[in-house]
């Protein structure tokens, strides 16, 4: 069964795209699964990391991005969507034995505009705007779900904020990975994200859901190793599931952002970040909802 993993945080600059790409590469390399990364962020950083600027621009011109997919196919029945997907992307050399590789549904800077257009297009006089929004989101969710037919793992790289696409991804995800930088405002962002993911309206309702049963986990990222970070992570762990994996601020992770045409091994690409990535990969695929799906 396909596992949908959203990488999300309403706060920007916490490393969502970098982690989504790392996780995609790790899953393809170590789990030998067919992995699709759907880039829902209008910054398109994950797309640029996986195919570089030129190939992304070609996909844009050809109308083969996630925005085009939503717009073109919104009212059509499900059919072959492979034209929108770029296969065997990234600069990591995976084993040649299929199906261990990464595919990409490229992002688009027009995604936000298209969401607005879809909303207007489907507005009706006798239907409240909120109801239309729910319809659009639900349709987008089902369109994303359609990719589960061809892939074992679908990683949804969400934008900051709460666009329709982000909400659709959160609704679809079996598990939501929430990277955060341990600082004071991250706690607020995490509390709100958690309520959204668990579909509750108050902190009291959230507290009523046992931490072990939550649909999300928090990943401390960009750690400098100071005492204040440790305190904040401990404080966060009182209310939220926090992974044991800690991603330090490493040059090797910053460099992994750069795409180049030369294929390299996971060791060459991630260097001293590799043990951290291994830990993240192993921990993510041990979470109960993903285990249940793979059983």
């Amino acid at each position: 069964m396909t596992q949908f993993i959203a990488v999300s945080n309403r706060k920007g600059g916490v490393g969502k795209s970098t982690i989504a790409v790392m996780l995609a590469n790790a899953t393809a390399a170590w789990s030998q699964r067919r992995v699709l990364l759907i880039d829902l962020d209008t910054q398109c950083n994950a797309s640029l990391m996986l195919v570089g600027g030129e190939a992304w621009e070609r996909a844009n011109r050809a109308g083969h991005t996630v925005a085009d997919y939503f717009y073109d196919r919104f009212e059509k029945v499900a059919e072959d969507e492979s034209a929108y997907v770029l296969n065997n992307v990234g600069d990591v050399a995976h084993a040649r034995t299929a199906p261990g590789r990464v595919s990409l549904l490229p992002g688009s800077q027009r995604l936000e505009d298209i969401q607005g257009e879809l909303l207007l297009k489907h507005s009706k006089k006798d239907l409240h705007a909120d109801a239309v929004a729910v319809q659009v989101r639900t349709r987008m969710k089902n369109m994303l779900k359609h990719f589960g037919m061809d892939f074992d793992v679908v990683i949804l790289d969400c934008p900051p904020g709460l666009s329709f696409a982000a909400l659709a991804a959160l609704a679809l995800a079996d598990h939501v990975l929430v990277p955060f930088r341990p600082d004071f405002v991250s706690q607020f962002a995490m509390d709100r994200a958690a309520m959204l993911i668990e579909r509750v309206e108050t902190a009291e309702q959230l507290a009523g859901i046992p931490i072990a049963e939550r649909r999300y986990s928090c990943l401390p990222n960009c750690l400098k190793g100071d005492g204040h970070e440790r305190l904040l992570i401990e404080q966060l762990a009182l209310d939220h599931p926090v992974l044991k994996t800690r991603l330090p601020m490493l040059d090797s992770i910053a460099r992994a952002f750069d795409w180049d045409e030369t294929r390299k091994t996971m060791q060459e690409k991630y260097a001293d970040a590799l043990p951290h990535l291994r830990s993240l990969h192993d921990e993510i695929f041990r979470v109960p909802e993903l285990l249940a799906k793979s059983a």
Binding site: F184, F188, D191, R192, A203, H228, L231, E234, Q235, L238
Partner: protein, 171 residues
């Protein structure tokens, strides 16, 4: 003469100056605060002699740790062929530096309640260290507080405000 000094900066430096100026009754509290603020801008670090001469101020003596760490069992043996250093004055053993993150104030408040946190803070008897803990854990305490008991109370209140703020933001 060998100098053994202790570095003070930030909150502990401020506390030292406040105690020092309190011995000058001609200064009002406002004037003291003004001078302390000025000194904080001008002086990044203060090095304080550990071994004080007779006649030093009361305040300077207070700034020296009163509970030196035991050293007898951990002192390394001196090699037999090394002569003991002559004429080195006896100095107080250095204390382990205080770790302002040794207690997670907010976590303790939430898990142990007000009493639990106060109990944990009781283990810190230096006002300088309490102020340092508050500063590093970004807990706002009044600059005019000097006694450890007052500082502990202020730390608990600041932590309560922190928790209340977070709950409010999530509602």
């Amino acid at each position: 003469m060998t100098k053994r000094t202790r570095a003070l900066s930030g909150a502990s430096q401020d506390a030292y100056f406040r105690r020092l100026f309190r011995s000058h009754s001609s200064l009002t509290p406002e004037e003291r605060d003004k001078i302390v603020q000025l000194l904080r801008r001008e002086i990044a670090q203060l090095r304080l002699r550990r071994k004080q001469r007779e006649g030093d101020t009361e305040a300077a003596r207070e700034a020296i740790p009163t509970k030196p760490a035991p050293v007898a069992e951990t002192a390394p043996a001196r090699p037999a062929d090394v002569e003991p250093a002559p004429a080195a004055p006896r100095t107080e053993p250095a204390t382990a530096p205080f770790d302002p993150f040794s207690i997670n104030v907010v976590v303790l408040l939430r898990t142990g309640g007000r009493e639990g946190l106060l109990g944990a803070l009781e283990s810190i008897d230096s006002a300088d260290n309490l102020r340092l803990l508050a500063r590093e854990q970004r807990l706002s305490v009044g600059a005019d507080l000097t006694s450890p008991a007052e500082l502990r109370g202020a730390i608990v209140q600041a932590a309560e405000r922190r928790v209340a703020n977070r709950i409010a933001a999530a509602s």
